[in-house]
Symmetry: C2
Subunit: 249 residues, 2 copies
Amino acid sequence: MENDELPADVAAMWRLRETPRRGPKPSLTLDDIVGAAIEIADAEDLAAVSMARVADRLGNSTMALYRHVKSKDELLVIMSDAALERPDPMPEGVDWRTGLTFWADGVLTAIRRHRWYAKVPISGPPAGPNNLAWFDSALGVLKDTGLPEEAKVGVVMGLITYVQGEIRMAFDLAAGYADNPDAFQRFGSTLRRVADPRVYPAVARSVEAGVFDEVGSFEEDNEADFDFGLQLYLDGVAAFIDRVCVKGE
Amino acid sequence: MENDELPADVAAMWRLRETPRRGPKPSLTLDDIVGAAIEIADAEDLAAVSMARVADRLGNSTMALYRHVKSKDELLVIMSDAALERPDPMPEGVDWRTGLTFWADGVLTAIRRHRWYAKVPISGPPAGPNNLAWFDSALGVLKDTGLPEEAKVGVVMGLITYVQGEIRMAFDLAAGYADNPDAFQRFGSTLRRVADPRVYPAVARSVEAGVFDEVGSFEEDNEADFDFGLQLYLDGVAAFIDRVCVKGE
DNA sequence: CTAAATAGCGTAGCATCTACGCAGTGTCGC
DNA sequence: GCGACACTGCGTAGATGCTACGCTATTTAG
């Protein structure tokens, strides 16, 4: 095997690690470990994932895990690739704009099943099989736009950044809301108390208009915000495509 | 004082906590603590900020800090507001688009001085004095667009999300790059080895085109990507403004 | 059957956050 | 001036976390 040059975590995600031939049979698989870690993170939180808890859930001792995983960080990286299922196949013959909307909605629902996903720090370009599948799906939608390859990659990376950023913020806010709903409900009155209109005139205008006083249903609001921001970004992409290649799609 | 209704962290950020009248003089200020924590985070990392290290740097014991701060999380929230200096005043009479570009560049340079900022989880709407100043600045730029207040807030929140997401991802990637530059330099060849063109056709096309083989200077690339995505978003905002209020700006 | 390679795991070290309660100190009311 | 009281700082200790190291048991190649 010539996978010496592959980074360790990439090799692990593609299950390319050399299988040894001698020695006792492993009572533990990488898949077991990753699966248990994902279950814990789904049920509680990414912070609840500790090597001890994962091992406990598998009936093994903590240190046994380190035969299969080099460090906890590596486990997190592998988890985050495994948790994303493959994207649904793109409907045939869609234009790039509906395609990317479809794609972004797919990302949103996929991550909704594993809210901790947005908290794993991104350490590099998408290198695992599942992340790469999503990347490929978005890139494929742009095939007929006439953009040069590099620009396609740029557009998709920007989209990933937007979607992840939006999701992360939405989930953080939702967690804050769950912790302390009052802080949100009373945000308007908090601002009225604390924000001097002479120092914060624009905020004061919005406060006066009552923008911060109605707190709608959280989930639905987020869905709407997500689409709103997404369409703004896609408007920008459309303008970009027109600018770059005048022949259009 | 009638600040009973204010959330504890908000009261702390605005320095509205009741000053006691009896008892020994505090040898420690909230400002001291926050300042020391920021210094540690600037010099090393957000992960390096522990109550013990902060106390050490101040020549106090760990537990002394808990007289001024309810928990470490509260300290993080207060830190993240204190670290953002006030925005530069907006140039007089700019149109909204150059204004928001100016604003976004300001955020970028402000956070560049405190890279850990992007790692603090957002727990609610911007409630500290500095964060609120930035919020006000962006909101003020949209004054003459004719958008309803709620839409302005939506646009600014979307912009914050985009900017923070972009910055966070850029910094995460930069950290990953610093850890392991090879993974980036060889990303093209990694993909060639691991990504079957039949499964990942669009990725394969980009790989073939050599998109992943040239790794430019990191800082400059990021600056360009940031502006690129920002302009896309602003194009979207422009379209939105036209759609909502036809009379224009 | 022997020897090598490999799996699991016990121990221990180190760092983290923080609950609890005690001792000392400075101020207010009289 | 003087006592009572409120408040500060801090020591201890527990809970939890990651992981280096090395021992023992197990399995298979030869």
